[in-house]
């Protein structure tokens, strides 16, 4: 794939200059829609962060804000999830998906008024969902607590996104489709199928009783596996080569990684029901799907690693690369952990504990969210013709979130493992186990404060980006000033 920088120096050939202008046109066509999606995503990130902190503090200090029913733990927690999943994650994902598809197919983004309008509708839907949760209208079905009527609104938005995706794909310039395109195309179809059919299974007699739990986890696990994961991987597949300036290591590994993900991830959801009241074969299928996930994960990890080999020094300079590589490494880690966790012997301990919460955040945060941060650092300057106004704040953002996430994961993983072992020993009184976990719940709040500082830095950077406060620079904002010659040698981030 083409890796020449957008911003060519005086030595650019006419062909390079044409290429640069094409990209500027594509980026300009994305501006309205993608900036709407990104700005909304950042807003929901802040909302979700506040809710996360409240929920976390309530866990070790249950008297905190306990007087208000609408802020009781059982409402704040699903509201945090909805704000992060349907607000932050999905909107950052859709913004990135639109821009990537426009770039990959070398088309202008279609529907210049309709696409920004979907962002507005999406926001209203999330806001409506949160209000419903605070008002006590939760469905009490994990990951899909917001009311079923949201399916109509999300469905409309996604229909427009699908139409845009198909149109861009059909009018693509080259016959070849790049690996990121497969993942994006999968995600944009998988999500609506999941969301709408889950509503039908969960709110009609199409599935009944215990089978509703199976439908619940088929849906919930696949939101991660078939919506966030493909968008995240598409972004990694695009940005690593782009920033370091060399192509993806192996086409065949890419192909294998995509199709094995499509085949196996689909089936993994029922590992959430191990020990539960469902047929043993159904649980076993979920475990097999989860263990088979080693195949796509190892494939993708090898492919990304081999692409990066010899280029790790760019991590020092490029904010995009630093976030994206952190995310990619955590994708491998969380997937390995997930496969092991689905084994009955491990699950017997980790199920029903904080271990699972740590695992979920390793996926949605350390992998997906960090990749989205990286994507926004890359895309936003191209849409708004301005650079990030401060490398210092980017460093604050990276280190607080990276370290905060590490503390979060270590603390709850350890606490959860011990909690599970103690719970499986009936001689230990239950309340002793609760007391044991409390210091670790404090460590989570501490990590949460760090991550909050990171998110505020990011929001501040993004706010200044919207106001185009950063300089109009021919080159990117780098974390460390590099020497003249190396800047020329590796101008990939441009």
């Amino acid at each position: 794939m083409d890796t020449s920088p957008d911003t060519s120096g005086p030595s650019a050939t006419p062909a390079e200059e044409r290429e640069r202008l094409t990209r500027i046109q594509i980026d300009r066509s994305c501006r309205q829609a993608v900036v709407w999606y990104y700005a909304s995503a950042v807003f929901w990130l802040l909302v979700g962060t506040v809710l996360a902190l409240i929920a976390s503090i309530k866990m070790h200090s249950p008297g905190f804000l306990a007087g208000w029913e609408w802020l009781t733990f059982g409402r704040v927690r699903p509201a945090h999830l909805a704000a992060m999943i349907y607000g932050w994650g999905s909107m950052a994902g859709v913004g990135t998906l639109l821009w990537l598809q426009a770039r990959l197919t070398r088309n202008r983004l279609p529907f210049p008024t309709l696409l920004p309008a979907t962002a507005v509708i999406w926001n209203l839907t999330v806001a409506y969902g949160l209000v419903a949760l605070f008002a006590g209208r939760s469905t009490s079905i994990e990951w899909i607590e917001i009311p079923p009527e949201t399916a109509i609104l999300f469905g409309f938005c996604i229909a427009v996104l699908i139409a845009a995706s198909i149109r861009m794909l059909r009018q693509r310039e080259s016959k070849h489709t790049y690996v990121s395109q497969w993942y994006l195309f999968g995600a944009i179809f998988w999500f609506p199928v999941l969301y709408v059919s889950a509503q039908i299974f969960l709110h009609t007699p199409a599935a009944r009783g215990a089978v509703k739990a199976a439908a619940n986890w088929w849906f919930a696990h696949n939101v991660l596996g078939l919506w966030f994961t493909p968008i995240g991987l598409a972004t990694v597949y695009y940005l690593i080569p782009k920033v370091i300036g060399r192509p993806v290591h192996s086409y065949h590994l890419s192909l294998l990684g995509f199709w094995t993900l499509a085949i196996f991830y689909n089936w993994a959801g029922t590992h959430h029901l191990i020990g539960g009241p469902l047929p043993a074969w159904l649980i076993t299928v979920g475990i097999v799907g989860s263990v088979m996930m080693f195949v796509p994960v190892v494939t993708v990890a090898v492919n990304h690693h081999m692409t990066m080999v010899g280029n790790f020094h760019h991590l020092k300079y490029s904010p995009t690369l630093r976030f994206v590589v952190y995310g990619a490494v955590c994708y491998t880690a969380v997937s390995f952990q997930g496969s092991l966790q689905s084994l009955r012997s491990v699950n017997e301990i980790t199920h029903f504990t904080h271990y699972t919460i740590a695992h979920a955040h390793l996926g949605v945060y350390a992998f997906f969210t960090m990749v989205m941060f990286g994507a926004i650092y890359y895309v936003a300057p191209r849409l708004l013709n301005a650079e990030w106004h401060s490398a210092g704040w980017i460093r604050v953002h990276f280190w607080t979130t990276a370290v905060g996430m590490a503390i979060y994961w270590l603390g709850l993983t350890w606490a959860g493992w011990q909690q599970g072992r103690m719970m499986n020993d009936p001689r230990i009184p239950f309340l002793d186990i609760v007391r044991y976990t409390v210091p670790w719940l404090w460590s989570r709040s501490f990590a949460g404060v760090l991550m909050t500082i990171g998110h505020l830095s990011f929001a501040w950077l993004f706010w200044n980006m919207l106001r185009q406060r950063g300089a109009y620079l021919p080159g990117p904002t780098l974390l460390v000033r590099r020497k003249e010659e190396s800047a020329v040698a590796a101008g990939g981030e441009g």
Binding site: S140, V193, F201, L202, G209, G269, F352
Partner: protein, 203 residues
């Protein structure tokens, strides 16, 4: 891979396959599950949800109890659910046939509640526990649900289910807590949670 139709076909085939395998086929397998007959008491079990119990279940859902409490008992020899006294047998699909949706949960910050009605049959206990969990369970990190109660300081005209607060938990003594309707319904639901009946598939 350059053909869009191949991609689309694969994308749909994979998700429809898992939908069939993880939802539609189990539904077909379990659809005919019927309640069991308790000849002695001349009732069928599970009993289903009616009146206050049904409304109490709604309260349980809207307060998000599910995020800290499961309602499922793992089999003997897998975990210690039965040894902890959370049930006399494992939970089976039959227990959930009237559950719309099932509230199995995935987290045990607090103990399992599948048989809480059998384990803790006192409404008074539940009222105190909901009002301030520390009263009945020192060290608990469950949030207090004071908004489900009214506090009174005079013994005159108290309803029958009012409960005297232990003095150390009362700001002004003496104090009684009077459950609001939602608290009554929630407790009715909790007391109804008793799945210790016999089923053929888990003896």
């Amino acid at each position: 891979m350059n053909r869009a139709w191949m991609l689309a076909l694969g994308v749909f085939a994979t998700i429809l396959a898992s939908m069939a395998g993880l939802v539609l086929i189990p539904e077909k397998q379990l659809r005919a599950t019927a309640p069991v007959k308790d000849e002695e008491r001349d009732i069928t079990l599970p009993a289903g949800y009616y009146g206050d119990i049904e409304e109490g279940r709604r309260v349980y859902m809207d307060l998000g109890c599910i995020y800290c409490h499961t309602q499922q008992v793992r089999p003997e020899g897998f975990g210690a659910d039965i040894d902890r006294g959370w049930g006399v047998r494992r939970s089976v699909a039959r227990d959930y046939i009237y559950d719309e949706p099932p509230l199995m949960g995935t987290m045990r910050t607090g103990p399992d509640l599948f048989n809480i009605g059998a384990r803790q049959p006192s409404a008074q206990w539940h009222y105190l526990h909901l009002y301030q969990p520390q009263i009945t369970s020192p060290g608990s990190i469950m949030p207090p649900h004071r908004f489900l109660f009214e506090v009174r300081h005079s013994p005159d005209g108290l309803p029958e289910d009012a409960v005297r607060l232990p003095d150390e938990f009362a700001e002004k003594k003496p104090a009684w807590i009077v459950p609001k309707d939602r608290a009554r319904r929630l407790v009715a639901y909790l007391l109804s949670l008793d799945h210790n009946y016999e089923v053929p598939e888990a003896r």
